[in-house]
Subunit: 285 residues, 2 copies
């Protein structure tokens, strides 16, 4: 009897300990909500995008509505420039596209003295501070009480004409060096968390200035754009991304600034570029 009890207790302890261990690891990762995650299928691979309704609610709402309606299925990436963006959407002037309402710019938002993020750098080229919140990269100007999502590689934003509030459904994904000069004047509403190599492989429509333009028939098309929650379970890609609010993330940032590895025989300046600081993801299904 005594032995049995000890065995039971020992088993329970093992279970508790394993659970605690799992939870401790899990805290450093945040599992993505499949209702806020998009699966973009390209002819050459799959891309997963996390949406950012907490920063750009109206744009995300409209993008989800359009995605669920199949608005993007079969659309083409018609403006793809190396080191800039891959832009796509329904054929210009199509009847379908004219029915989509335009959106009011959500390029930045107001902060107060209680607003916080995981700061990584002061005195960035384009802002007073940069850092992360909910896995997204942001810039913050405390002097103006304004913050905004930054144009790092892999962010998805709505395209527009000259009018600030003219975006509707056409979007772009930054495919090269951060286009930070577009910060605050375009609405970013998500970021690629998986399959960036497939985004970057999208055929450039203007490969070389002065060369014959790429024929439209060679443009890369979107096989489909679906909410992850609407994809059959066996085809879903479920991801967890690093929790940028966890102390372990801040520790990683500080460590990265110090560059203590012996590889750095001469240390670089102790600064971090917000767009060169990875927020890693991993498949969980």
């Amino acid at each position: 009897m005594k032995i049995k009890l000890i065995l039971v207790m020992s088993t329970l302890l093992t279970i508790f300990s394993a659970a605690a261990q799992t939870s401790k690891i899990a805290d450093q990762w945040r599992t993505l909500d499949s209702e806020r995650t998009v699966l973009l299928t390209l002819p050459h691979g799959k891309v997963v995008i996390e949406l950012a309704p907490q920063f750009s609610p109206k744009h995300v709402e409209q993008f989800i509505k359009l995605t669920k309606a199949g608005h993007y299925d079969g659309n083409k990436f018609y403006r793809v420039i190396d080191g800039f963006v891959a832009q796509g959407g329904p054929e210009d002037g199509s009847r379908q596209d004219k029915l989509v309402p335009t959106l009011t710019m959500e390029g930045d938002f107001t902060t107060d003295e209680n607003w916080q993020f995981t700061k990584i750098q002061e005195d960035d080229l384009f802002a007073e501070q940069t850092g992360f919140k909910d896995g997204f990269s942001l810039a913050h100007n405390p002097s103006e009480k304004k913050a905004w999502l930054t144009h790092c590689p892999g962010v998805i934003a709505m395209a527009r004409s000259n009018d600030a509030d003219s975006a509707s459904s056409h979007f772009y994904i930054v495919n090269g060096q951060a286009t930070r000069y577009l910060d605050r004047i375009m609405t970013i509403f998500g970021r690629v968390v998986y399959g960036m190599n497939h985004v970057q492989a999208i055929t450039r429509t203007s490969v070389i200035e002065g060369d014959t333009p790429v024929a439209e028939k060679n443009y890369t098309s979107m096989t489909s754009m679906k909410m992850m929650s609407d994809v059959p379970k066996e085809q879903q890609i479920l991801l967890a991304v690093k929790n940028t609010e966890h102390p372990a993330f801040s520790e990683m940032i500080e460590k990265r600034k110090r560059r203590e590895n012996a590889f750095f025989y001469k240390k670089p300046p102790p600064v971090l570029d917000i767009c060169q600081t990875p927020v890693k993801s991993r498949i969980v299904n």
Copy 2:
């Protein structure tokens, strides 16, 4: 007789005028020397690299020697990390690789008060000044009298172990946001001038942290690496790139800073990121 003379003169004038026009345009472009240009053939596309012997003579000399010997043909990209680099070279520990001499670091060089480049920015995050010379992006610290090639997307540099002077033949190409913290401690010796989409499509060997590693059989291999001058004429890709010493290039830079296009309904800070300033190329054959 008089009429004939006029006709001849008129023809001559037309010829002179056309020549002047061509030369004026041509000055803005610099045709690449096929003896300093490399054709990297990947299974999914062709990539052209311009070498930089004027900045990293010893590394370029060795890279050309290795390329001509077929050292890289069939090699794999065995370390490919999203937003970082695609690194490749001969199988580690191969006999062939052990015969390659190591190189002394050519990470930066000394400047004097007469040293010039086409400056684009002061107060960069990692340097006192940034700019271009011969189509390559550089940083300059006048206070130290040092300049160096910068790690922008598409630059090719030699990999090394912890020892500064341990590089030999393994190389990497920056595939995402500029890895500027590697400036001066790695030797950049060229840059991709065509086919960056194919470089960026190289299979990531570490797609997702925590996921099963990518099987070696799925690594992208280099079908061949050849000097452009050694490629049969009909397979050559001959390029011209913008002449960064031409006044038109400086004008483009100033214009880019001002962002006068109506699209910029609110102007971004008048700064330029050296790695977000394109030096365009075009096919000339």
